[in-house]
């Protein structure tokens, strides 16, 4: 696929050029991010001069638009909001519920019923209305389950909708030269807006003026490194240049003023969001399974129907009659209750998952999750807490570990050292982050802070360690500060001391450790200032390296008391000139920060590993950090080496290392860019432990596609707008409930309400369980198809009075058997399902031949025999011996024959015979029910003995009123079913892989 795209400028200039878009240094290689879009939406607004800009939008960079002009533009462009992607119309969603594989089968059956009804009605056959009822029932079942499924999806859509931010965003806009607070929705192109730290950028903005402005582009690019914004055009590429701030990104600090150049769907984010719909939705595995199953059913139905059609013709029935037999058999094969069972099972699981923080948008996704074999997970927020936290401190030449747990309840380090107090003071004072007011009641880790990630971490850390930092800072009045910039790589501030008698100023500084060290001449050790000699420098170096290799962001801290004489009270400090001491400082220590993994994640990753699921980390972060976190949570296991590790260990060049020796592999976005798809496939194949770092969200899509090429069923997590294509492409897209953008949530199949990776694992477990249990449910439901069909076959071929009527069959299918088959959905797992490999979608089918054969031709056969035994018993006890029944049909059904003789010489009227026939229906029904009780017991397990699993955990067979002795006749057959299945399972367990196992394990 070419990353080069030709495009035309919209103004008709026919300026054709190759647009190679770079986003934070990473190329967007993918077709879904069409360069055209980006270039169209941004044009050259960043390159033109301010004057040209004013001209273009008839605005002023000082006074803003006039109110009338603003109203006019608003009229023209519409409100500044992302229109929800054109969702599927509700009626289409509903229609989709009616058009699944099973549903189609039932529609066909209903049509056949209508045809049969038409034929029989015109011939005046008695009981032809059964066909009509059947047709109506079939349609009702489809429609009712359709409504049910629709309702389920509707409900989860609502849950998702409730997550949308309902508070309207405000923007500070300058119109007619006056500052106004208006709804961001009402912004128009040309408006002059002001943003400050903590604000969300309300539209795409060309920066006119900025002061220390930094934005977090993560919602756009997935990368959380703050980007500074200045009025200068620094790059011809609109995405790279510093003078454009994008809609939906967050301003972390500083202030900026800018002119709105794009609003609503015409913003970059809007364009990208609308592109996600370009990626087609794949069929879910369960839909494929059900289609496969419908194929089996339809094949068998037509085979049986045709066989008996031929048999009927051979026996001497009229063609039309034989045709009706054919249709009846085909219809009888349709498992009416199955659709309801599947829908109920899936929605029950969806409900269960929702309680565990997974909201499933599409019911079928529940099962997809169970078949997942690769999870491509984000790092930030999913594997980690999405919160920079102080992880380690180095002072007094010791590395102290700080508490990084989510509730910060762990044991902290020894805080008695004098050095610690100085270090904490520097960290607390040289810090511009502040708590948003009115959060005293919240625990410190959950308070909202305005400021960048590391300052936030330091603020919270000091707040925890020292106490009220806001008040603490009051005591040390700030005189001057120099914000961080990339040339200095440090930040400093000068404070008065809290002791009013001490008139010295305190200068505190933090920054990149090596830069800080350069400026220091002494080091604080146990409260003592010692000269910073070589030994200490080496100690510093070791500590710095150690912390760096943990993937942590390390900051150095130092301070100095300014000479009272040189800098007396009232001294004019100048932040630009820096007319004060900035060297010869006293080094206090290092503090390193990391976004720590969530507590539950290592366990969850471990579970995935035992479950045969690969967890691939895909992150925008630095490879070292990514690797550290991967190692931390177990994505890279202990002892696994990358090619580079092996090279270092063996002291050989990287090229000489056998790639297959390395279990782990860290690939950065840059490397990925240069890899062909074959190379990527090969890398994924040969390294079980993969980490992708510094990747753009678009590369995520490439990774997903590669996994899918290797035959995996891929789950992908994502939150950014740019993740939408990957989420759609994945077999199951998982969006984050908290951090996720609406676009991501729209594209996803499932939403994690708590953003926690561990919830995915729960989902996988439930998905696997539902696959197993659906199998059991289907096996159970299918079994009774045979005892429902055989009466009719025997009726045709042997001409006995009809043993089982159509309405009774519907009664079994839709009333008595629904509960047990649904109860199987609650069955606990037979073995530790999380210790098995994910199912192979090509081999482990939901309904395989052995399941069908075992259900139909074995258990079903036993049930049929049970039914006939009971039927013949009931007939014989009333005076109709089995041999008399054979061939009796035409007499039995003769309406005018009121004195048909039974085996004892008694004479029966038609009505009496009909009553007897209804009794037979009941008897057959009872037999099926009794056998189904045995069936539901055997279906609880497929491999384990029922005695190993425990008996009555979930069986809720609603016993009907005792109806005489007929309950007892089928019991031997029920026992036979039970014993036979135990023998089967014993064989399966004892001789895995044997012929018996292959044929009889489903």
């Amino acid at each position: 696929m070419s990353s080069l795209l030709w495009f035309t400028r919209p103004e008709g200039e026919r300026l054709e050029r190759i647009c190679q878009i770079k986003l934070n240094g990473t190329e967007l290689q993918h077709k879904y991010i069409v360069a055209l879009t980006v270039c169209q939406s941004l044009q050259d607004d960043h390159e033109i001069t301010i004057e040209e800009l004013e001209m273009r939008y008839t605005t002023s960079v000082t006074k803003g638009l006039t109110s009338s002009k603003a109203a006019e533009v608003l009229e023209r462009d519409g409100p500044n909001e992302l229109l929800p992607p054109k969702g599927t119309p509700e009626y289409v969603k509903f229609a989709r519920q009616l058009a699944g594989g099973l549903q189609c089968l039932m529609w066909v059956a209903a049509v056949i019923c209508f045809i049969a009804f038409g034929i029989e009605f015109s011939r005046g056959t008695l009981g032809c209305f059964d066909d009509l009822y059947l047709a109506i029932t079939l349609i009702t079942v489809v429609v009712v389950t359709g409504c049910f499924g629709y309702y389920q999806e509707f409900k989860s859509t609502n849950i998702i909708a409730s997550f949308k931010n309902l508070v309207p965003q405000q923007a500070l806009v300058i119109r007619d030269g006056q500052k106004n607070q208006i709804n961001a929705m009402d912004l128009v192109v040309g408006d002059l807006v002001e943003i400050k730290g903590g604000d969300r950028v309300p539209a795409d903005i060309r920066i006119i003026f900025a002061q220390g402005c930094k934005v977090d582009n993560s919602s756009l690019t997935g990368e959380s490194e703050p980007q500074s914004k200045t009025p200068e055009c620094t790059h011809e590429n609109p995405l790279e240049t510093k003078n454009i701030a994008f809609f939906s990104t967050t301003c972390l600090e500083g202030v900026a003023t800018g002119t709105v150049i794009n609003t609503g769907d015409r913003t970059i984010i809007g364009r990208i969001a609308s592109l996600a719909s370009g990626v087609g939705n794949e069929k879910t595995p369960i839909a494929i399974e059900i289609e496969h199953f419908v194929d089996i059913i339809a094949g068998l139905a037509i085979f049986f129907g045709f066989t008996f059609f031929v048999v009927a013709m051979f026996i001497g029935y009229a063609f039309l009659e034989a045709m009706i037999f054919f249709m009846a058999i085909v219809v009888a094969y349709v498992p009416e209750g199955l659709l309801a069972t599947v829908t109920v099972c899936l929605s029950l699981t969806a409900k269960r998952l929702a309680r565990k923080n997974c909201v499933v948008k599409n019911l079928e996704a529940v099962e997809t999750l169970g078949s997942t074999s690769v999870i491509c997970s984000d790092k930030t927020g999913t594997l980690t807490q999405n919160r920079m936290t102080v992880a380690h401190l180095w002072f007094d030449n010791v590395i102290h570990a700080a508490d990084t747990t989510e509730d910060q309840s762990g044991q902290s380090f020894d805080q008695s050292s004098e050095t610690w107090r100085s270090l904490a003071r520097v960290a607390g004072l040289c810090n511009r982050a502040i708590f948003k007011p009115n959060q005293e009641s919240l625990p410190i880790p959950r308070r909202i802070v305005v400021g960048d990630a590391s300052e936030t971490a330091l603020l919270k850390f000091t707040e925890l360690a020292i106490g009220n930092m806001m008040e603490y800072r009051e005591r040390f009045k700030k005189v001057v500060e120099v914000p961080f910039n990339s040339t200095n790589k440090f930040q400093l501030s000068v404070h008065e001391l809290e002791d009013p008698m001490d008139l010295r100023y305190l200068l505190v500084m933090k920054g990149a450790p090596e830069r800080i060290l350069e400026r220091c001449s002494t080091i604080l050790v146990r409260g003592q200032e010692l000269p910073l000699d070589e030994q200490w420098r080496e100690a510093f170096q070791t500590a710095y390296m150690d912390l760096g290799s943990l993937g942590e962001r390390v900051l150095g801290f130092c301070h100095i008391y300014l000479n009272e004489n040189e800098f007396p009270r009232g001294y004019k400090f100048d932040s630009d000139e820096m007319n004060f001491t900035t060297s010869g400082l006293c080094f206090a220590g290092l503090i390193s920060m990391i976004d720590p993994p969530r507590a539950t994640v290592p366990d969850a990753v471990m579970k995935c590993r035992t479950a045969g699921i690969r967890v691939v980390m895909v992150t925008g972060d630095h490879p070292i950090t990514a690797r550290a976190i991967a190692a931390n949570v177990g994505i890279i296991t202990e002892g696994s080496e990358t090619v580079e590790d092996i090279a270092t260990r063996k002291r050989i060049p990287v090229e000489q290392v056998n790639r297959r020796d390395a279990r782990a592999c860290v690939i950065s976005g840059g490397q990925l860019k240069d890899m062909s798809s074959e190379e990527l496939d090969e890398a994924l194949r040969s390294h079980p432990e993969m980490v992708f770092a510094r990747t753009s969200p678009q590369q995520k899509l490439i990774i997903v596609e590669s996994c899918q090429r290797l035959g995996s069923i891929v789950a992908v997590t994502g939150d950014g707008v740019n993740d939408s294509p990957a989420l759609k492409k994945a077999d199951i897209g998982i969006a984050m409930g908290i951090a996720g953008s609406d676009a991501a949530k729209n594209a996803a199949d499932m939403i994690l309400l708590d953003d926690n990776f561990a919830s995915i694992v729960t989902g996988v477990e439930q998905g696997r369980l539902i696959f197993d249990n659906l199998k059991k449910s289907i096996a159970y439901t299918l079994t009774k198809n045979i005892p429902e069909l055989t009466p009719y076959l025997i009726y045709i071929t042997v001409s006995v009075p009809l043993p089982l009527g159509c309405i009774t069959i519907l009664m079994i299918e839709l009333a008595t058997d629904i509960f047990p088959s649904v109860s199987l959905a609650y069955e606990k797992a037979e073995s530790d399902i999380m210790h098995l490999k994910p199912r192979n979608p090509r081999k482990d089918r939901l309904v395989n031949e052995s399941l069908a054969a075992y259900s139909y031709f074995q258990i079903g056969a036993i049930q049929s025999f049970a039914g006939f035994t009971d039927y013949f018993t009931a007939m014989a006890q009333e005076g109709w011996y089995p041999l008399l029944c054979v061939g009796l049909r035409s007499h039995w059904e003769d309406v005018h024959l009121q004195d048909l003789q039974d085996s004892y010489g008694q004479e029966w009227t038609y009505a009496q015979r009909l009553y007897q026939q209804y009794t037979c229906y009941t008897v057959f029904f009872i037999s099926i029910e009794i056998c189904q009780i045995a069936d539901v017991l055997i279906r609880k397990t497929r491999r384990l003995s029922i005695f190993q699993q425990g008996f009555f955990r979930s069986v809720d067979v609603n016993c009907m009123e005792q109806m005489g002795q007929w309950w007892f006749v089928p019991i031997p057959y029920g026992i036979l079913i039970f014993v036979y299945d135990e023998i089967r399972k014993l064989g399966v367990r004892r001789h895995p892989g044997s012929w018996w196992d292959q044929e009889l394990y489903y």
């Binding site: 006890q877 003789q901 010489g905 009227t909 036979l976």
Partner: protein
């Protein structure tokens, strides 16, 4: 390749063998349970008779769909009815009856109980002589009155083992009348004018108690089912006449709406007779 082929055949063979054994076993089990079930049955009396509380009634000749239609001038049209009755009544010939059956005291049940395990078989039956049907016996009138437009219809009560159709020496008897039938929404009609006078044979249309109880075809080989003949003496010609006959007994109830033939029987008569 040949190996795989052979393996597949072997497997298919095994499966077939498995199913063969499986179905033989199931079939065997079925036959066995059937056999055991049949052993539990009494040869002489069905286990349950709850469907036969009220015995059905039936007519002879029964015609097509309980309709007797003929033309007095067209011999062929009623000959089939006469023929049916002839065949039906053959076993009631006096000679046969006297030869096979006992002459019983009337108005009493002819009870022949078994004494414990000792079967009192074969059981005797009472004579029902064809001659008791008099005008409808076919002895005097070979056409059973069909030619004269005075047709005979024989009515029989369905056999039910052990049924006692009357108490206190009261034999059940048959009465016939016009049938109320529906012609439209809530519109009922009966052909009471058209039915004319009726004659019953034996007198009063009784089923004498001596023919009951019935002991089943195995115990009571020569059972002669009692009959009642109804002769329509001056039934309206050239019109449909709906007739309903029902049993009058102090033990049997007529069936409800559900069974139109329990304790009663209805049929249609249409006798065509050209004026000239």
């Amino acid at each position: 390749k040949g190996e795989g082929e052979r393996n597949r055949w072997r497997e298919t063979g095994l499966i077939l063998l498995f199913y063969l054994v499986f179905y033989i076993f199931l079939g065997g089990m079925f036959v066995l349970t059937m056999y055991v079930m049949l052993l539990t049955l009494d040869d002489y009396k069905p286990t349950y008779q709850d469907r036969l509380v009220t015995p059905g009634m039936m007519i002879r000749p029964r015609g097509e769909a309980m309709e007797i239609l003929y033309n007095t001038k067209d011999t062929e049209s009623f000959d089939i009815y006469a023929q049916t009755l002839n065949n039906f009544l053959e076993s009631y010939n006096n000679s046969l009856q006297v030869q096979n059956n006992d002459e019983c005291p009337p108005d009493n049940y002819f009870i022949q109980e078994d004494s414990g395990e000792v079967r009192n078989n074969p059981k005797r039956s009472c004579q029902f002589n064809r001659s008791t049907l008099e005008e409808c016996s076919g002895i005097t009138d070979r056409t059973y009155g069909y030619q004269k437009g005075q047709p005979c219809v024989l009515i029989k009560l369905n056999r039910v083992i052990g049924m006692l159709p009357g108490k206190d020496g009261q034999s059940p008897y048959v009465t016939c009348g016009a049938k109320r039938y529906k012609v439209g929404q809530d519109e009922w009609k009966e052909d009471s004018d058209a039915i004319g006078e009726l004659a019953y044979y034996p007198p009063n249309g009784t089923f004498n108690l001596m023919y009951f109880p019935y002991y089943g075809k195995k115990a009571q080989l020569n059972y002669s089912q009692p009959l009642v003949a109804v002769k329509f003496l001056n039934i309206s010609l050239n019109t449909d006449v709906n007739v309903e006959c029902k049993i009058n007994s102090n033990t049997l109830k007529t069936g409800g709406e559900r069974d139109k033939f329990a304790g009663r029987v209805s049929f249609k008569l249409r006798i065509t007779s050209p004026k000239n």
